[in-house]
Symmetry: C2
Subunit: 339 residues, 2 copies
Amino acid sequence: MSDAASRRITQRDIARLAGVSQTTVSLVLNNRPGDETRIPRETRDRVLSVIRETGYVADPVARRLADRHNRILGVFTYEPVFPSATADFYHPFLVGIEECAERLGCDLLLLTSVPVIDGRRRIYHEANRLRLADGCVLLGRSLDRDELARLVSENFPFVSVGRRDDAGGPVPYVGTAYGPAVRALVERARALGHTRLAYLGHGEGAESLADRMVGFREGAGDLPVRHVRPTAGGPAEWLDALEGVTVVFAEEYADAVALVDEAFGRGLSVPADLSIVTLGDPTRPARTDIDFTGFRIPRREMGRQAIQVLTRLLEGGPLVQRLLPCELVVGSTLSGPAA
Amino acid sequence: MSDAASRRITQRDIARLAGVSQTTVSLVLNNRPGDETRIPRETRDRVLSVIRETGYVADPVARRLADRHNRILGVFTYEPVFPSATADFYHPFLVGIEECAERLGCDLLLLTSVPVIDGRRRIYHEANRLRLADGCVLLGRSLDRDELARLVSENFPFVSVGRRDDAGGPVPYVGTAYGPAVRALVERARALGHTRLAYLGHGEGAESLADRMVGFREGAGDLPVRHVRPTAGGPAEWLDALEGVTVVFAEEYADAVALVDEAFGRGLSVPADLSIVTLGDPTRPARTDIDFTGFRIPRREMGRQAIQVLTRLLEGGPLVQRLLPCELVVGSTLSGPAA
DNA sequence: GCCGATCGCTAATTCGTATTAGCACCCTTG
DNA sequence: CAAGGGTGCTAATACGAATTAGCGATCGGC
């Protein structure tokens, strides 16, 4: 393949052709105007014209090895991205990440090679290539606590997309302000007259889930609330468990869809008999024509800001922890309770 | 930031701790069982246990510099990906690419940093980082002829997603078999009784457009055809130009949507008054509830196969040129012409 | 006409890993 | 006991660019 014949051009080649040393070539390429060791115009032009003729471009690998950074940012996704169910959920984050990286002139290294172990991807493994990047963005609902701690202790610059608090040290993140969003929706339901509320979801574990639950409880205040876990059977069981409830807040969009289908199947009407509020975008595929009341996660903006925060961090800036507000969706699945 | 204190661990450190030389560490890490220079079990175990304790992982950059390849594949998109209009079109390719890369244990380098010059991205520029990858996949409707030729002449391994014939040499690609797909649709229209056909689109320039036109003409045979170029005004002008035509084949999905909207606005019905066939997926955002007759580009599969072809190429395999069949969509916008 | 200060450039080293050549030792064998 | 052949390891070097230290030549000042 890459025979001697097709060897790529190096600074040595340029140097030889221009009749100077490799050092000079490097200096011509790197000395910003106004630097101390300057090369006279004539020499500089000679070198530059050889570079232009040959079409030389510096080997980014060698460059990286020598000066300890390139403009490459890693993107690591914890959950396995395939089958593409979750891919759809993560795509908007990626779009925001790409958009910002493009603006900043950075390339992205998608760490797709990572092996899946116990249903979860691992950063640290035999052929870890994370360090090829200057820093990285971590995506995923639940990051591995130990790996996070290790990144922190090794001083590797990273930013988590999603709040993270369990790394035995402060973790830079750009997350979602679930609490206020859920709380606002609960308060709206109460303002409409609801008093029998339920939460459908885990409400614990990952920060994103716990944060929703906190908002839910804050909004509910003194009202008694019911907590239905999606692990307990399917939509039929959930709906049974919701007997007497007038409004349910569904952590997972796809669960809301399943619940509505079940309700329709029993001849119930939404929102007349039961109001349903969604607390985020589908992380599992969900087909529906219904315009749910709830909120959207500002995924694209989160991606954008994660890259911003990361690059600032790389420039020696402060460790940032930031929560972005959700966009409320009015929808048609929340109304006052039936009399 | 990366002070001496937080310097990352190297093979030298491991060597010192294990009381051996750096060479030995490298050998322990790289000697596959059954190699000639073998390290006795005792030494090997000692080194490995130090590695385990320290959590050492090899620096992928240095590795790459030394042995001339890593498992990183570049992904280059010619059209600017933002605003996200086009991002939606390219996403399925990426999903296929990622899926296959994951299976093969490769990481992906998204060349997002590329500057946009004259509305088009350029591979070759000052800080080109393409060569960090072992090879790359090129996406985009129209690739730059000169850059393609240069890649070929520099012997850089790449695969184009989409047929490409203008590089002054054979270009490996995984493309779409537009010709047969368009031809099949035209033949179906003729079988339904249509004799007054029109093509709405450029029909030339990029291979993907020219290939559609070839299929269209083959299908039309001796029938006279009308060619309406989308550059000539908007939907109103197009529809005027389609006077007397009973079926129109729209190169661009979004144009078909605009055309239908215009037709409805004039009280025409589709397909009763005018059949409309789409020739691919929207490259521009298009909102519609209509179930168009036409075909889908096997984008995900193209992405998958592009990576396969690329990796084979990297292993010294042959230069592959392959066209994938389209998936025909029956839809509801093609029927026999009105009497 | 000598000293010191530029100017213009280069040799040498560094980054971390892979690889090649080969050294020192022990173990046979004749 | 010398020659021959492993075994177990290491020194040296390569990869390609960036950077530091510094050399030789020219120039200015007195």
